[in-house]
Amino acid sequence: MAYLDHAASTPMLPEAVAAVTAAMASTGNPSSLHTAGRRARRVVEESRESLARSLGARPSEVVFTGGGTESDNLAVKGIFFARRSLDPRRTRILASAVEHHAVLDAVDWLVVHEGAQVTWLDVDEVGRVHPDVLEAALRRSDDVALVSVMWVNNEVGTVQPIRALADVAHEHGVPFHTDAVQAVGQLPLDFAASGVDAMTVTGHKFGGPLGVGALLLGRDVACTPLLHGGGQERDVRSGTVDVPGVAGLAAAAAVATDRQSESAVRLAALRDDLVTRVQAAVPDAVLNGDVGAGRLPGNAHFSFPGCEGDSLLLLLDARGVEVSTGSACSAGVARPSHVLLAMGADEERARASLRFSLGHTSTASDVDALVEALPAVIDRARLVRR
């Protein structure tokens, strides 16, 4: 088996497994006042402090959530509601056209149900939002509630100029959210230094458990809660905190960020080898996205002319090579990637694409398996389109 889909979920780190199991073996609701509650609360607060340290945030800026989608929804809707309640004219959201569906669909929901306006920020041919595009959009509108641009694109791995974008937003007095789920452990990440107001992270992308994440939320950023109840997590996210989950999340973040610079070098070398060998095996393969420092180290993304990504995935899966077409809806029906379409690709090229993503357990033998299987798979997939 060659697992080349770390961007979907990467194996849990042993340190995270140990932290989760230890927390699972003890009793206690962190909101309780007795000894068991205090012990649970200690785990939660130490996890909060640890995660804050790993990501350059203050502990009070960590809001634990049920994962990336919840964090994105909380940031987009919560900041929108809070900003609009201060000034009813603020109904516009600026977001990049290549956001994850957790942002795209949250924005669409606000458009349909809350009368929000949206300006989708154009990207260039590698999928990057240029600060002058944001500047122009902000200059055109004085009704902006928030800006959301992801740290790195989950499909093609393009890194966004977040610091510059956040600065532009702040010059116009608008808060800035970034979905950074793909960045943790692969790119240097510092919440304070990045200048953003809210940042989404999720455990299973960097060796933590599934179903637990955080929204890093600046202390001065108003955010209306979406879940109401016990007032946990700064009153922004009610609900009993998942003690084992956040323990695992923090443990994984500590290891992943500690190893980030060496991981980045190792993954980039492995990825460059993958890219070179895929292009040698399939000469007309088109690498989508940026090269060099502008690309996530573990990401490679190609279009294979004359093939459908669906066919390639099925054929590679049958040969023990696990990859992704990069986007799938809940029914599992593949649609042409909105990311590639936004980058100017035609539907044909968008449907012909495949993502290979590397992570902490990836080795050269994974690349070997892919390169060995690929030529026959491409030939076969081209028959389907004939």
């Binding site: 669906d310 066919s311 995935l313 099925l314 054929l315 899966d317 049958a318 809940s330 029914a331 599992g332 029906v333 593949a334 076969r380 997939a381 028959l383 389907v384 004939r386």
Partner: protein, 353 residues
């Protein structure tokens, strides 16, 4: 063999996939997404188009530990099955969309794609048997689906597997339960999968608009009522005619024929429905051509009665002379020839007398 199991999310196709695995085949499950905008949850007895059905299919594939994918064939299904369905009604015929789906989707688009991907066959949960290339009725005569498979060519049948043919529906459910497949108790699907609320008339009216015309008594030639569109009627139909003028003899009247050209629906007494001669076009021999004329059995609609007949050759196809009168025979349905439980061939009914 490398087998692609088409999994609708129902119990039949789940057990068919399981039996294909048991037979030692290398099985991959595929759910066909046929609806442009699938509903989230299944409603009533329509069992193929919702996300819940896709989930049920995926769940069964996971239990069987086989790969599973969803193939989006919604565009093709719309043009080859749904649009054809509407056009046939508009032309005064009564189509069978399941038959069309087998002919053009499951054993055409899907089989073709499967073969190109390196699969040897497509397995489905149809109740029918395939013995040495001969298509036969299921042992469960109430569930037999050989009629809607009789349009398949020998090449299509060569790429088909029907693992359920020698089981009754009851046995299929028991087998699903024995394997802990969650779909064991899922209700059977009825009706037309792409008409969500089961209201075929409204579905057609929305697509064809109002096409009002007269309802004419076939015996007297008198106009006895008005209708909003001939497509809403099927030969043999009695209910819902809403006639202004009762029959002189007070007996119920039935739809005898539809003529879209002059928008006329002709009605008459029940015995006028009896036909003994059926002209059918576009004939297809399932297990090799037979010399005509010949004697055999014919079935004229899904789950319909079987009639003895003599088949004669015409320029367009077959002239079928029935030994006993058949009732409610509609143009557009298939005439399927049988020798006992073996399908000999099929053709599309064009007219009756």
């Amino acid at each position: 063999m490398k087998v692609l199991a088409a999994m609708s999310g129902g119990v039949d196709s789940a057990v068919a996939a399981a039996l294909a695995v048991d037979a030692g085949h290398d099985v991959t499950g595929v759910h066909l997404a046929l609806s442009q905008s699938p509903a989230t949850l299944r409603t009533g007895s329509r069992g193929c188009c919702s996300k819940e059905d896709a989930h049920d299919a995926r769940r069964a594939a996971d239990v069987l530990d086989i790969p599973f994918y969803v193939w989006d064939l919604a565009d093709q299904f719309r043009s080859d099955v749904v649009d054809d369905f509407v056009a046939e009604y508009a032309a005064g015929r009564t189509p069978n969309p399941c038959l069309r789906c087998n002919e053009r989707i499951k054993f055409a688009a899907v089989l073709d794609r499967a073969r190109r991907l390196g699969f040897d066959a497509v397995a489905t949960g149809h109740h029918a048997r395939l013995t040495n290339g001969m298509l036969r009725r299921s042992v469960d005569s109430a569930k037999d689906q050989s009629y809607v498979l009789a349009v398949l060519t020998s090449d299509q049948l060569a790429g088909a597997l029907f693992p359920l043919g020698s089981m009754t529906k009851e046995q299929v459910r028991a087998e699903a339960a024995r394997r802990s497949l969650a779909v064991a108790d899922k209700p059977d699907s009825h009706d037309i999968c792409f008409i969500a609320d089961g209201d075929t008339r409204r579905f057609l009216r929305e697509r064809l608009g109002e096409q009002p015309g007269p309802v004419v008594d076939a015996l007297t030639g008198a106009v006895v009522g008005r209708h909003a569109g001939a497509y809403a009627y099927t030969v043999g139909q009695r209910r819902g005619l809403a006639l202004d003028v009762p029959a002189p003899d007070g007996r119920p009247r039935y739809v005898l024929s539809l003529s879209p050209a002059d928008r006329t629906v002709r009605v008459g007494p029940v015995e006028a429905l009896d036909v003994t001669k059926v002209l059918a076009e576009s004939p297809l021999w399932t297990g090799g051509a037979r010399s005509l004329p010949m004697q055999c059995d014919v079935q004229l609609r899904a789950h319909g009665m079987v009639h003895g007949c003599e088949v004669r050759e015409t320029t367009a196809g077959w002239d079928l002379r029935l030994s006993t009168p058949a009732r409610g025979v509609a143009a557009g349905q298939a005439a399927v020839l049988y020798d006992g439980d073996t399908v000999l061939g099929s053709a599309t009914i064009a007219s009756t007398a």
